[in-house]
Symmetry: D3
Amino acid sequence: MRAPGTRPRLLLVQAFSLPADSPNNYRKAGGTKEQQLMNHAAVAPLLADVAWDLHPGAMAPHGNWPVETREEFAIAGVARLPIVREACESGKYDAIVLLGGGDPGYMEAREIGRRHRIPVTANAHAQMHLAMTLGNRFSVVDISETHNAHMAELVVRYRMTDRCASIRNIDYPLPRPAYGADRPTLRGEAERHAAGERSGMLEGAVAAAIAAVEEDGAEVILLGCSGAFWLQAPLQERLRAAGWDVPVLEGYRCGIELAKLMVNLGVDASGITFPADPPAHRRRRRFV
Amino acid sequence: MRAPGTRPRLLLVQAFSLPADSPNNYRKAGGTKEQQLMNHAAVAPLLADVAWDLHPGAMAPHGNWPVETREEFAIAGVARLPIVREACESGKYDAIVLLGGGDPGYMEAREIGRRHRIPVTANAHAQMHLAMTLGNRFSVVDISETHNAHMAELVVRYRMTDRCASIRNIDYPLPRPAYGADRPTLRGEAERHAAGERSGMLEGAVAAAIAAVEEDGAEVILLGCSGAFWLQAPLQERLRAAGWDVPVLEGYRCGIELAKLMVNLGVDASGITFPADPPAHRRRRRFV
Amino acid sequence: MRAPGTRPRLLLVQAFSLPADSPNNYRKAGGTKEQQLMNHAAVAPLLADVAWDLHPGAMAPHGNWPVETREEFAIAGVARLPIVREACESGKYDAIVLLGGGDPGYMEAREIGRRHRIPVTANAHAQMHLAMTLGNRFSVVDISETHNAHMAELVVRYRMTDRCASIRNIDYPLPRPAYGADRPTLRGEAERHAAGERSGMLEGAVAAAIAAVEEDGAEVILLGCSGAFWLQAPLQERLRAAGWDVPVLEGYRCGIELAKLMVNLGVDASGITFPADPPAHRRRRRFV
Amino acid sequence: MRAPGTRPRLLLVQAFSLPADSPNNYRKAGGTKEQQLMNHAAVAPLLADVAWDLHPGAMAPHGNWPVETREEFAIAGVARLPIVREACESGKYDAIVLLGGGDPGYMEAREIGRRHRIPVTANAHAQMHLAMTLGNRFSVVDISETHNAHMAELVVRYRMTDRCASIRNIDYPLPRPAYGADRPTLRGEAERHAAGERSGMLEGAVAAAIAAVEEDGAEVILLGCSGAFWLQAPLQERLRAAGWDVPVLEGYRCGIELAKLMVNLGVDASGITFPADPPAHRRRRRFV
Amino acid sequence: MRAPGTRPRLLLVQAFSLPADSPNNYRKAGGTKEQQLMNHAAVAPLLADVAWDLHPGAMAPHGNWPVETREEFAIAGVARLPIVREACESGKYDAIVLLGGGDPGYMEAREIGRRHRIPVTANAHAQMHLAMTLGNRFSVVDISETHNAHMAELVVRYRMTDRCASIRNIDYPLPRPAYGADRPTLRGEAERHAAGERSGMLEGAVAAAIAAVEEDGAEVILLGCSGAFWLQAPLQERLRAAGWDVPVLEGYRCGIELAKLMVNLGVDASGITFPADPPAHRRRRRFV
Amino acid sequence: MRAPGTRPRLLLVQAFSLPADSPNNYRKAGGTKEQQLMNHAAVAPLLADVAWDLHPGAMAPHGNWPVETREEFAIAGVARLPIVREACESGKYDAIVLLGGGDPGYMEAREIGRRHRIPVTANAHAQMHLAMTLGNRFSVVDISETHNAHMAELVVRYRMTDRCASIRNIDYPLPRPAYGADRPTLRGEAERHAAGERSGMLEGAVAAAIAAVEEDGAEVILLGCSGAFWLQAPLQERLRAAGWDVPVLEGYRCGIELAKLMVNLGVDASGITFPADPPAHRRRRRFV
């Protein structure tokens, strides 16, 4: 547990890293931790009162492109676990924040964290829970059909089925060999927007979010993929301008804030949900 | 919105206040804000990085005893709204934390806060949401049959029905004329425990929490009434000693931390859930 | 309990009253009870076999306009409770019917009624329950975005979430200073229809009801606001003419009939749901 | 529709009749309608303001014993439909009340009634719906394992799954050849109680109802079989004496009162739920 | 139980038969079992490893037209039960497959089969369960508004409500006197398609299935009526050609395969769900 | 797709293999496929009409003990995927059956199989779905607290939450270093029973299953861990002897039969649930 009067120490762990020369890179590798953290400027205020490190994640074992299929998420998730274990054992951190919209390895990482009384948060999980404190139903604005299928499964695993109005597909996927060279992806969209140019991805997100609110009953908007988290501020602004005062969340800030909250409260997870190894208790029955 | 680099400014508002000479008082009136805040020592670390005031709450309009019936909760809730409005209009606060286990006036207070972009949190609401980030199902250890009925209604209103394993009654109610003089209440139990004596209330809470975990499937324990929040530390300790590593939450800390989180994220509530007056938008339909 | 061979004695209680000179009045104040009861002609047959009084409701404490926000509903609800208590204590009534589409003070009033073994019914509650005896899912045709948000909360509180197909907004709100002078409201619409003129409110209700049936899966239509209850007969007729044989309910008749039914069956409410003060029983646990 | 100023005309239809010489009879055949109507004295006040006839039901086609299996319920249900059709076509009735705890033929009878705009009610259906107006969860005190299985299916069909706390078996079945001669049945229990003797069936019902309230979370008690409806008054009294102020309902009175209510409101069922033949409308899709 | 090394022996039972001269016939009566089994060519491979008989079903007691209303389904269901009983008692069959999209008499037939340890399957039931092994939500492409209402009830009875995205109506009903002579029905559509002509019924099914997938969230398509089972192959092909790789199921093959599976596993049904007569056990309570 | 007239070709894949000299082995490694397949004698009849191979699974990467924690299940799941891919690409199999009670790698394996139109089944998934065709609610008799937590997560992922009555812990875990040498495990229990000796594991399973039926409302019993699948026959027998005619399922036979059924029907999974890579279609929104 954190020493009194000190700042919480967080480790942020990327979902995976790609070879520097991969043609499918969509975020910067190398450089300072600030440079490696996407949308750092927006996230920085939340990190001002903590000490933090950034781990670049394991080199992706599945190939030189970002994860999108269920298989790739599973592989990336398992590859991240040794990083989590090592961080827990190091005694250097009060909490771990898993970066990456699809939460690879999250439930297993919590199980590991639990044994060290270290809370672990993740982007989709934190977004969904915080969304529920703000409104009754959320929609996820997400990047591709395959990613949608994974997000739907996370909604189920996190028992948020009744709270999820829809997952809206804007069809700006991560770069991927299977798509071939011509397929538009999310690469370059953030830069385009930052340069003051029109971003089709932002326009698609605005249309998807409004449809989610008007047709599906969404009261809060989440962003599905960390490659889309840059949309938070412009999408929020555009919705407000259109008369829809609907909170737009993204995963980095939600994961960081929830981690800080857990550190402050001195909680990490339930020992029933994540039993110790071996378990300290025995129950006759478990309800699902 | 909070000025950058400043500490969040919170107003904590008691559920109600009783006349100083009421025979039914169960918490200290008057004195410094620290003295008025029950369990201040436990809460203090979470308030170290904020600026905070304490409002004693409106003088109870229903009588000189604590609220327990639905009617009393409604009356106390309405009586608290002018305090919330005034605080919002004062420009002095970044967030408001409603104290009191049964959240009197919470939904209405959020509606008011929403118009000023000021988040409002409450004890049961914050506990339930944070419990869900720690485990799959919670039980509420609560003080009396009548209070249980109110808590059950809060669970429904907060759409947590599927997440609530049970509400366990330890039958140490708040003092109340209807009970007559002989009925044991929660008054004096915290003091008894603090003095190293056996507290029947604590023993009842331990038994209730273990039954909730073993029989009802609880994975997290909440405390229903602010008069029982002192149980958090001893109950947590007792459960761990019995082999049950189950988080025990209480409302003050959960409400404060959730308020800080919302301030940090710059969110308060959805404008769909709490429409402006007049609404900025128009929807054709609303799903429940 | 009612004396054998006598007619049930009902007290109908308006949700609130406005100053006679309020520019925001939308129903008649003063006059006979028949004159004060909106749509009396349609309701009269159901009152033929009972003895009834009408209470004008408490003078609205929140301002000189009708209730629409959560805050206003809470204030009006609390203001109505003394009327309910007094009526129960008077021994003059076998049941109380709370008038007003949004059921202000209903749960608290039932708690009071329970202690006197007097059933209390309310407009939205009775409509929802009776709708469920007629079809599988209902939609509420309702007057404004803010009122919709309140109705959605009632659906949740009454545990009808799975039964509510949608709440459809026709956007003919109650008069309200926040809207300014130019905003069309429901005022005058009933009169316009009665005069054989085209009512935009009725047309909107027809379109909303058909959309609810065709798109949302509604099998029964409810009316959300007492200011819209006059729509029942013309909306029913228009739907039938369009080939949709879907029952349209309104709150006054549902509340009255359910009250009569409860009187006849000798029931009012469960003592578990609404415990006595002090409770006659003690339970170890409560399921939500 | 009922002529104004006249009393509603109800037809009560028994679930089936057995040969007068059947060794498995458990209610009186022949005699006046009052003699044939079980528990007439208790029901009579509710019939005082209506005109009513009693149909003895079709002679049981399945055998000379009461229905208990799914097959027998289906057979009895189909055998009752011609009676319903004839009654509807006769123009003599404003509503039909199907007697019998397990509602044989109910959904089909409503379909028939719908075409004549005649409401049809049934005992389990009416009990469940009225229970929900009184408390949040009900348990059914029922007579046998096989009857329980049928009641469970009715709960599902009536979409009351989330509202049913449990079905409690007191194991006093209807007489039946499969049981042999020695098996205790419900026959004679009502008479025993009426004679001031101890009834094992009543004792079992008291124990089952208290267990349902204490262990299962029931807030209202229903009775599953018309052969157990006589328990209503003594069970209610016993529960109150034990400190449990929980409403106990039975089917005859609930079915009759709901039928009167529907006649008064001029409703019978939704034309979406029960389409006309041929349907007056066409929908593209139906939600379940 | 089946003798080792022998082929399972199945009895397929038609839902009902119509007089050979009925103007409302839509499938062939008489001839070999292969000729009587609709779509035999498609089904034959699944029957290659079993011994099978076909029972033509009971002559329809309700009239000389196919079943479509709730009443007709109930009548046909009861008429089929003696066939099931006789088949069970004959000792000639290892399983019974009830043919007909709306499963008349299914639950009752299982109760009978249970007593002989003989599994009974039915078309809608098998389709729904197998659909759930392939995807998360299904839609039913169905033939008429009245049939839709029946299918919706089956979805509820089979506890598939959360899994059913929608029931889509293509409005090609079974022939029926109530429709008159001019109403297009499904008669002749299969033949038209087989002859290489355009079938409006197929076109409607394609449009309905795509709408179910795009608008309602269906992940698997079921066919509601045995008169529409011929659509399986062409609809599957058309969906794939349109880019939707969504499984299309039909009832005959699902019912047959599930029956074979149950025979192979040596299971038929739970004795709790379908208690013996008399029951071998006694439970204190049943959860729904 | 399978050539007509040939037997389906199945590949059975073990969850993982342990080093032959591991002190934690609980099933035989090496030998014929029949020797390696636990409970082969019971499974053999179901394999008589197929051609089958057995893959021993990947050598466990996590350590030399069986998987039990979430982390171990994830690691074993990922390690199994290359086997699945290779089998799909080989063109040698019509279906793949994943062995192992906790379904490691199942959802990812289906995604792989989908691209080759090859169905993949798994033990818990198949058991749950087939259980639902037999009764309304199932309980899982399972081996340890940690395994229970994993099974609970599978129930959620497979959307069976409402169908799962409970997971009952008999506390006979797999051997595991964390338990130390003295902890009783499931090792040797099957042999003990086969030798006619008393098995504490079987006794525990009988008690757990009866408690599940009597207290939790189970109507079907599943077995959680492949190391417990040997319990199927003796547990079934013991339950019947005790009067409980409740089906007991185990995973091998369920997985094999469901695979055969899918091959026969020519289905594998929905392309919406498991989109192709790249997807053949694009949807605007996905419902969870």
